[in-house]
Every structure is written in structure tokens, then in C-alpha cells.
């Protein structure tokens, strides 16, 4: 899932300050799970902003609501009226949602209420950790199912480095050394030979280094004919 965190309230307040009607749009998917931009968080943010305004004598109108997924145009389209009725959109989804709304309504100012942090997993209640960087060419079959790109501070392909100590990473002793974890996992699986196998330098073109990535599935795409049909139905 995508893990995000609410921006400081004063930063949010500053972004929306010049505008009167603010649409605050949350998302029921990843950012609801990580307690950053679901229904409750949208309501609390609107409430806090109203209290701030009352305290400072500022007038602003808030329309807070939540979409099933803000990164999908179909869901955004359903609330078009409310978006168009606003002076600014404060997106409480990850940046993908904010950019979807912004791309659909380019004349609208859309600002992010959250900082999009990582691809991560919930480890326990209230704790999320990063496990993938989206390199575009997954290699965890050779590393015991543990990603060295995201979980090793140096993204080493052949670790550990000399700084690994007692299972901890030298960059931050509070986090585990990914390569220690990989070693332990491979040992458990009786595949320690993989530790000796040299992984060649990675081709980073499928990653972000190759520029913005666009994924196309020809079998899933609508044909021109189908798109025209859609227009007729509309």
C-alpha cells in the first residue's frame, strides 16, 4: 500500500488561506488504512481548520468528503460538482489522488494535505515500514523474498556492507540490516549458496531513472471504436 502522513496543520492552513471555499477530499483506500486521509481524518482536519478560523476571525467554507479511490477518474467524476464549486481542493489522498484531480480539472488549484511517504506495509497497529521502491524489475527471488533496494540503506545488491552489526544497520541502529535479514532467511530455507552468487549491476532503466513510466496493456485498452461507443452512450 501507499503510506502517507498528514502535513503539519499550519502548512495546510497557509496553503488554503487565500481561498474561501475549500473542498477537502479524502480517499478510502491506502491512506485510510494508514490513518492519514480517510473519513475520520478528513472530518478531524475540517474541524480543526474551522476552530482555527473561528479563533482567528477568518471566514472559510469547507466541504469535506471521501472517495473510494481518488486516483481513479471514475470516482472523481462523481463529485465533479463539488470540485467545481470550490475555490481550492485540499487533497487528503496520496499525491496520486491529488494529481488525478489536478489533471482532470487543470484550472483548479489542488494542494496536497498529505506527504506521500512510501510503498509500505502495516507491521503492527500504528507502524508502517517501507518494503519496495518500485524498481520495475523485481529481484527478491534471489534475496529470500526481502528487498535489498528498499530495505538496505545503500540499496546494495551484494551485501552486507562492512557496517552491519548484530543484525542492525550502521546507518540507523534502530532498523534491521536488510542483508542480515536476507542471510537469516536464506539460511532458514537452506539456500545460503545464494549469498555467494554475485548479482551483476542492476539495469535501472525500468526504474524511475529511465524517466516517467507509463504502463500499457494492449489487451485491456479500449479500442477507438469502443471509446466512440462510450461517447455515444454518454
Amino acid at each position: 500500500m501507499i503510506v502517507a502522513e498528514r502535513k503539519p496543520l499550519d502548512e495546510i492552513a497557509e496553503m488554503i488561506a487565500p481561498f474561501r471555499k475549500v473542498a477537502v477530499i479524502g480517499c478510502r483506500s491506502c491512506v485510510a488504512i494508514c490513518l492519514a486521509g480517510g473519513e475520520k481524518e478528513v472530518n478531524m482536519l475540517v474541524s480543526a481548520m474551522k476552530l482555527k478560523n473561528r479563533n482567528e476571525g477568518r471566514e472559510q467554507e469547507f466541504d469535506g468528503f471521501v472517495l473510494e479511490r481518488q486516483c481513479e477518474k471514475e470516482w472523481v467524476k462523481e463529485v465533479e460538482d463539488r470540485i467545481l464549486a470550490s475555490d481550492i481542493v485540499l487533497s487528503m489522498s496520496c499525491s496520486l489522488g491529488a494529481q488525478t484531480v489536478g489533471d482532470m480539472y487543470p484550472h483548479k488549484i489542488v494542494v496536497p494535505g498529505l506527504n506521500t511517504k512510501m510503498f509500505g506495509v502495516p507491521e503492527e497497529q500504528g507502524v508502517w515500514s517501507e518494503k519496495c521502491l518500485g524498481c520495475g524489475d523485481c529481484m527478491i527471488s534471489t534475496t529470500g523474498g526481502i528487498c535489498p533496494i528498499a530495505r538496505c540503506a545503500k540499496s546494495m545488491l551484494n551485501g552486507p556492507c562492512g557496517g552491519s552489526s548484530d543484525g542492525h544497520c550502521e546507518v540507523n541502529l534502530d532498523i534491521e540490516c536488510a542483508w542480515y535479514a536476507i542471510h537469516e532467511r536464506l539460511k532458514l530455507q537452506g539456500r545460503l549458496d545464494l549469498m555467494e552468487t554475485v548479482r551483476p549491476p542492476k539495469d535501472w532503466v525500468p526504474s524511475h531513472s529511465g524517466g516517467r513510466r507509463v504502463l500499457v496493456r494492449e489487451d485491456a485498452k479500449l479500442t477507438q471504436h469502443q471509446k466512440r461507443g462510450e461517447e455515444v452512450v454518454e
Binding site: 496543520l9 499550519d10 472530518n43 481548520m49 476552530l51 473561528r54 479563533n55
Partner: protein, 140 residues
């Protein structure tokens, strides 16, 4: 401002918190009638949204009252309640409001004297700070 009765909302769990209010009344203790009690099944049921809503609807101060920690009817309910209160306090600070408008307290049923004490303390906070946006209460 002096004429206005401070508005305090207390979210009280229906176990030790409500019991302590009842025992305090039975033992003849009184408290400010500017208090509105909202009975909840457990202080852990109180969400940050409920507290902010109370402030938005005009409360000057809000408290959450639950069982003593480690003696909570629902085991860790009052610990949950405290975490929510702390989070709301941090939000209030972030928007420039006084975090002391919101507090968490713990009681056991038998602490009849503590209920009026808590109400007085929060009423005092409400009186001192005044309504949000009023520019201040008696204390300014």
C-alpha cells in the same frame, strides 16, 4: 464575559466515571451546572472527532473521564482514551489553540470527591480561556 457560564463537556465512561459522578452526587457534593455529561460505553470509544465536534459546537473545554489505567473495566479502554486526547491536544497546538482545553482524567467508582474536582478544574480552564474566538476569557 463574567456573566457567561463556561461550557464544559465531559465524556464519561459508563463504568467508573459515571459511578464516581453518581457517588459524588449521593454524598452531597455539587459541581458547576455548565457541565454537559456525555455518557459513553468506554473512554476508549471516544474519538478525536467527538472531542473536536464538541469544541466546534461551542464547548469551551472538554474532558474525557475513564477508569483508572490498569483497572479499566475494558482492560485498556482508558489507555486508548488518553492517546486520543493527546492527539487532539497536539492538533489544537498546531492550529494555535490552547491544548489545555482538552484533558483526560481517570477515576475509580469510589473516588466520589474527584468528580467535582475535575469539573471545577475544567470549568476554571473554560472561564480563563473563554469561548474559542472570543479573544479571551477572564484570564486574559
Amino acid at each position: 464575559m463574567a456573566d457567561r457560564r463556561p461550557k464544559v463537556v465531559g465524556f464519561c465512561c459508563e463504568r467508573h466515571a459515571m459511578d464516581s459522578s453518581i457517588f459524588s452526587a449521593r454524598s452531597g457534593r455539587t459541581y458547576d451546572t455548565g457541565l454537559r455529561i456525555i455518557r459513553v460505553p468506554c473512554s476508549g470509544r471516544v474519538d478525536g472527532m467527538h472531542i473536536l465536534n464538541a469544541l466546534e459546537e461551542g464547548a469551551d473545554a472538554v474532558f474525557v473521564l475513564g477508569c483508572l489505567e490498569k483497572n479499566c473495566y475494558y482492560d485498556t479502554g482508558s489507555v486508548e482514551g488518553r492517546k486520543r486526547v493527546e492527539y487532539v491536544k497536539s492538533m489544537l497546538s498546531e492550529v494555535g489553540l490552547e491544548p489545555e482545553r482538552v484533558e483526560m482524567f481517570n477515576v475509580s467508582s469510589s473516588m466520589a470527591w474527584k468528580f467535582p474536582e475535575i469539573v471545577s478544574r475544567m470549568t476554571e480552564v473554560a472561564r480563563r480561556l473563554g469561548p474559542i474566538g472570543s479573544g479571551g476569557g477572564d484570564g486574559r
